[in-house]
Point group: C2
Chain length 105, copies 2
């Protein structure tokens, strides 16, 4: 008997509270930030572009090229810069950390 | 001796002249269209978002979720609708077929 496949949800914005240290960007700080990210699939967002690109590939009209013939669930915009103090009391600002809006691009 | 790896070029707009039939969308027509697409890699476009998302994955803070922690080279905009006559003289219009602008989203 085959197990049911995990049902993938459509592309949407999700959030997670994490410490700055946990972000893994190299900063040591216990300050908590709201990390928002894009999660889900884009099956319903396939365009004529994607279908045609897939065919150009199959027909070897496009070869040895890095092309993506499927929409990506990605941020359409990013939140404002995030500022924090690290454990040595140094002040940092990081940009494009958290998503503001997601879409199937 | 190892063979050199293909050097991937940065994300850019490319073009190809193809017949409507070749697009593989199910239409039979010898009319030629200019199919423009996005090709290349986005290594230089990695954001704090991507690095953090990758870490959240490694730390199992995000599990069983479909997330993409790398920028995609995709159309930022599509060309105008394309119209053509098929071999039976029927008129069709297809949208979002060809890219107008590419970017690392």
């Amino acid at each position: 008997m085959k197990r049911a496949r995990a049902r993938h949800k459509p592309c949407a914005l999700k959030e997670l509270e994490v410490s700055v240290s946990e972000l893994g960007l190299g900063y040591e700080s216990d300050e908590i930030v709201l990390f928002r990210y894009c999660s889900g699939t884009c099956e319903t967002a396939v365009r004529n572009y994607d279908l045609s690109l897939k065919n150009m590939r199959l027909k070897k009209k496009i070869r040895k090229e890095k092309v993506r013939a499927r929409p990506c669930c990605r941020p359409l915009a990013y939140d404002d810069d995030v500022s924090f103090l690290d454990t040595y009391n140094r002040y940092y600002t990081v940009n494009e950390l958290s998503a503001k809006e997601c879409g199937c691009v």
